[in-house]
């Protein structure tokens, strides 16, 4: 056990392991690239849907239950399915990562919109705001803290799951996990897993810090009248 940890430490800190086309730096960059693109596409799909459901109040049932559905969706199964349909490409990876992120963002966006005080919404309409002014000047800014939470959760989940790119022969930190398993190289498997975990946690903390900084002027939700 001690030996394993020592080897793991050595693997993670050796300069040779970090450099080169198969090096950790390259894999980390690939991993971030997959994650960023998938989260971005998911946000572009999920934000309008969540905002629309929140603004109109129609489809609330869908928005509330979507996140449970998203959790239940087997990602590896989805990758395999899309792989069979599309052949060898990045499609299986992006489709399954986006499918994972969309429900979280929709549900949180909707929750943020639903939490806007109806009196405030009423006042906004009553002052003469048009629907898009109510949405963008009042509802969206007030829902933003929860929307950010949704994006943060989605980002963390996508980073943790982007290892599946390696499952269909692409790069990313998952490479070490799948290659290590194939080569029965436990140190490499663990090294990959640790890197993914650290990356996910670090991103989560960084985004949480940004969130706190951005909304430091906001009252606690209980006072938000």
């Amino acid at each position: 056990m001690i030996e394993l940890l020592t080897n793991l430490g050595h693997w993670l800190t050796s300069g040779a392991q970090w450099s080169g086309p198969d090096g950790i730096a390259t894999r980390l960059l690939e991993h971030l690239q997959y994650s960023a693109l998938a989260t971005l596409v998911a946000a572009l799909i999920a934000l309008p849907v969540g905002l629309l459901i929140g603004h109109t109040g129609r489809g609330a049932f869908l928005a509330i239950n979507l996140s449970g559905f998203g959790r239940a969706l087997p990602t590896v199964g989805l990758v395999t399915l899309v792989f069979l349909a599309s052949g060898l490409s990045m499609w299986p990876v992006y489709v399954s990562l986006v499918a994972l992120a969309v429900p979280v963002i929709v549900t949180n966006t909707y929750a943020g919109m639903a939490a806007v005080d109806p009196e405030v919404r009423d006042a906004a309409r009553g002052q003469g705001m048009r629907w898009h002014q109510v949405l963008f000047q009042v509802e969206l800014p007030l829902a933003l803290p929860l929307i950010m939470t949704g994006l943060r959760l989605a980002c963390t989940q996508v980073v943790a799951t982007a290892t599946i790119a390696a499952y269909v022969s692409f790069g990313g930190l998952g490479r070490y996990v799948f290659d290590g398993l194939a080569q029965r190289d436990l140190v490499q498997v663990l090294g990959g897993a640790v890197l993914v975990a650290v990356l996910a946690i670090a991103l989560d903390l960084a985004l949480a810090a940004v969130q706190r900084l951005a909304f430091r002027n906001r009252p606690a939700p209980s006072q938000a009248h």
Binding site: E119, V120, G126, G128, M129, V138, A224, H225
Partner: protein
């Protein structure tokens, strides 16, 4: 159907056979015809579910009538663009409904910004209004949650007045603040109204608030029926039916006295005769009553006096005459200097006459503007 008798001003808002039915079968407003004169405060009162808020919200199309016509300034509101219509009508709601993510100044500047005044001009106007509603200039940079409930409500009024709309809709604006602050806000509203002369529609379930603020009061009954609409004095003196009488409460006569002032009530000079002597300061301000027949003579402690001005109500005079040991009310001028005293009997007699006058005014159906004295 009840038609509210028109007041002195030209009509600003009119409802013609307006009804509001909801798909679930409830009727919020039933065949309402009502005309609201320009520059007056009309208070809509009634228990919850009587359609008063629905009536108010139909003026700025927050609720659309099922049938009938609502017009503002002579124009059918359904012909106007809803958002533009609302920008021209001030709207104040309970809990103020301020935007929590915007500063006080930006909250007040909402409508000017929507009207495209530009940020600088809108902010300058907002700063003016902050002062008008009695808030310190420094509060403009703060956020709504940093203000007290009463202050938030003032901001709500400032926001509604920002673009200087001719009409102001107020939906239970002071319902959520404590009684002391509520009285302050009511006084502020009356002060603002004496300067601005807006056409105000004010919804409340508090009949005392209605009597205090209203130039006329419209009483609604559950099911959206307007039962009676009249100036407060007329309403109190001769309620149309038992429902209105019940709603006005048992102390109708006292409420009526709260509408009349001491102006015109004769006074006598305070003399040195009798057991009770009114002690005044060097400047002539009443300090208290001294019992000259008490065991302590001139050393006796003073009993409290609450001097009244001509603008104070007959009700407060009656109250003070009961509290005063001599049965006399000390009268002072605007500077607080004693002008004379009035006895309990005289106040009582005057109050009775006012009551009778209010009743007669209604019976003749010809309102004499001087007879319905407002507070």
């Amino acid at each position: 159907m009840t038609i509210c008798r028109q007041g002195k001003g030209k009509r600003m808002i009119s409802f013609k056979h307006v009804s509001k039915h909801y798909p679930n079968g409830t009727t919020a407003v039933d065949d309402l015809s009502l005309e609201l004169p320009e520059g007056d405060i009309t208070v809509l009162v009634g228990s919850s579910g009587c359609g008063k808020t629905t009536t108010l919200r139909m003026v700025n199309r927050m609720v659309e009538p099922s049938s009938g016509t609502v017009s503002v300034g002579g124009r059918d509101i359904l012909e106007a663009d809803a958002a533009e219509l609302r920008r021209g009508i001030g709207y104040v709601i309970q809990q103020a409904g301020l935007f929590p993510h915007r500063t006080i100044l930006d909250n007040i500047a909402t409508v000017p910004l929507l009207l495209g005044w530009g940020r600088r001009k809108a902010r300058a106007r907002a700063a003016e209004l902050l002062e008008l509603v009695g808030l310190p200039a420094g509060s403009g940079k703060r956020y709504p949650h940093q203000l007290s409930g009463g202050q938030q409500q003032r901001v709500g009024v400032a926001r509604a007045l920002a673009a200087d709309p001719p009409v102001l809709l107020m939906d239970e604006p002071f319902g959520a603040v404590d009684p002391v602050v509520r009285t302050q806000l009511q006084n502020e509203l009356l002060r603002l109204q004496s300067e601005l002369r807006k056409t105000v529609v004010f919804v409340t379930h508090d009949i005392d608030e209605a009597v205090r603020l209203g130039d006329r009061i419209a009483i609604f009954r559950t099911g959206g029926h307007l039962v009676q609409c009249a100036p407060p004095a007329e309403l109190l003196a001769s309620p149309a039916d038992d429902f209105v009488a019940g709603f006005l409460g048992a102390e109708r006569g006292l409420k009526l006295l709260s509408l009349s002032t001491l102006a015109g009530l004769p006074q006598e000079p305070a003399d040195d005769k009798g057991r009770w002597r009114l002690v005044t300061s060097g400047r002539g301000e009443p300090l208290g009553w001294r019992d000259t027949e008490g065991p302590d003579g001139d050393e006796a402690p003073l009993l409290p006096v609450r001097p009244l001005r001509d603008t104070d109500s007959l009700l407060s005079a009656l109250d003070e005459s009961l509290a005063s040991p001599a049965g006399l009310v000390a009268r002072v001028d605007a500077d607080g200097v004693l002008t004379g005293v009035t006895g309990r009997d005289r106040i009582h007699e005057h109050a009775g006459r006012r009551h009778a006058e209010a009743g007669r005014t209604n019976a003749s159906q010809a309102p004499d503007p001087d007879a319905s004295v407002t507070a």
